[in-house]
């Protein structure tokens, strides 16, 4: 018997981007906790993620999940110099807004608002999209993230020059690049393996 897709239970589909909590429902069968070996559990990195259907689905390829998760954590949580956390989350939110990942955007808009205290600006990015005016320093981060998200890639020296003009050093610019690049990974997993739902 071939495997089959899942039909999510009746739910309300979010029709706008939001900073509120959003759920995620899988289209493919996650691993059941009782069938997960020690290797699968270690691949979750954070044991609490066993509650998440998303991570239990990705745990089917444990080596890929573990490496993904450890790269993610360093790109966003290693705040030893470089770009402040708020702007890394801004890059993640802008990429998710452009690609259309309502779930990813909700999580990282919350983080960006928490670390920046700029709730109104984050909400405007969600409501109006990546072309909205957030002031030059945030506009430069959004513009670089957008250019790196387009296919074919549109990032050029002018984006680097603009970030430098705003005072970013090369480590901070590398953080913009890795944050935006990482969400081009995360968005595609979230968008292709399941769908967002309002709780």
């Amino acid at each position: 018997m071939p495997d089959t897709t899942l039909t999510p239970p009746a739910h309300t589909v979010p029709v706008a981007f939001t900073r509120a909590q959003v759920d995620w429902l899988p289209w493919l069968e996650p691993m059941a906790p009782e069938e997960m070996t020690e290797r699968h559990r270690l691949a979750l990195v954070d044991a609490v993620r066993i509650k998440s259907p998303y991570f239990r689905l990705l745990a089917r390829d444990p080596d890929a999940l573990e490496a993904r998760t450890r790269a993610d954590k360093d790109i966003f949580y290693n705040t030893n110099a470089g770009l402040p956390r708020a702007e890394r989350e801004l890059a993640a939110t802008a990429v998710s807004r452009l690609n259309g990942c309502v779930y990813c955007a909700s999580v990282h808009a919350r983080f960006s608002a928490t670390y920046s205290k700029r709730e109104a600006d984050v909400d405007r990015l969600l409501a109006e999209g990546v072309g909205t005016d957030l002031g030059e320093s945030w506009n430069a981060v959004v513009a670089a993230s957008v250019a790196l998200t387009e296919t074919p890639l549109a990032l050029g020296p002018e984006h680097v020059a603009r970030l430098r003009a705003d005072g970013l050093d090369d480590l901070a610019i590398a953080d913009v690049i890795q944050s935006a690049a990482f969400f081009n990974w995360a968005n595609r997993l979230m968008l292709s393996l399941g769908e967002p739902a309002l709780p």
């Binding site: 029709v15 890929a64 690049a181």
Partner: protein, 193 residues
């Protein structure tokens, strides 16, 4: 010694400014490489062969138009007609992203039309049903990920992939979307230094 793929493709040499920058995000560097190894040189390939992994990569990188990264993944292809079939699929399906539709509502005004995956019968036949289904999924993920739905996944399962295989294939496309961008972004940064 294994070569760090991102360093190789960007042209980062030991002691260079970008080498120093990458060293300040050591886990990101290590695990970007481990992601590559998990997806392209896995200890247990499971249900996705090495040729299938590199063919999918060659397609995805080709859609991005990144010639040097494509050449790297092309080295992993087996001899034979597969390369030509993948190149043909790239030539027939290259476009610009992201596009796609949102659920009906206030975001509908941002809906952006774009082509669906379509290749000629000869290419589909040369790829075989498994890769043909995987390429249709990859095309959506690369260019219009917000159009993704369970139908594409069902088509992959019907083509013989298991749920676990589909997770691996989705990771390959999604990871490459990251790696291609890190390489291209670091190249721009290196040239601007």
């Amino acid at each position: 010694m294994t070569v760090d793929v991102i360093d190789r493709l960007v042209g980062i040499t030991p002691g260079s400014p970008l080498d120093g920058i990458r060293a300040q995000r050591p886990e990101a560097r290590t695990h970007a490489q481990k992601s590559y190894e998990a997806l392209f040189t896995p200890a247990d390939a499971g249900g996705v062969t090495s040729a299938e992994r590199f063919a999918l990569a060659f397609y995805v990188v080709g859609l991005h138009g990144e010639a040097e990264t494509a050449a790297f993944y092309g080295e992993g292809l087996p001899p034979g007609g597969l390369r030509e079939a993948v190149e043909s699929a790239v030539a027939q399906t290259r476009t610009h992203g992201p596009y796609g539709a949102f659920p009906a509502g206030p975001l509908s005004r941002e809906d952006k039309a774009g082509p669906a995956y379509a290749v000629d019968a000869a290419t589909t036949s040369a790829l075989g049903p498994r890769l043909a289904a995987a390429f249709a999924h990859a095309h959506m993920l690369v260019y219009h990920p917000r159009d993704a739905g369970p139908d594409t996944l069902a088509a992959m399962l019907a083509a013989g992939w298991t749920t676990t295989d589909v997770v691996t294939l989705s990771q390959i496309v999604s990871f490459l979307s990251f790696q291609i961008r890190v390489v291209a972004g670091f190249r721009v940064l290196r040239r601007a230094s």
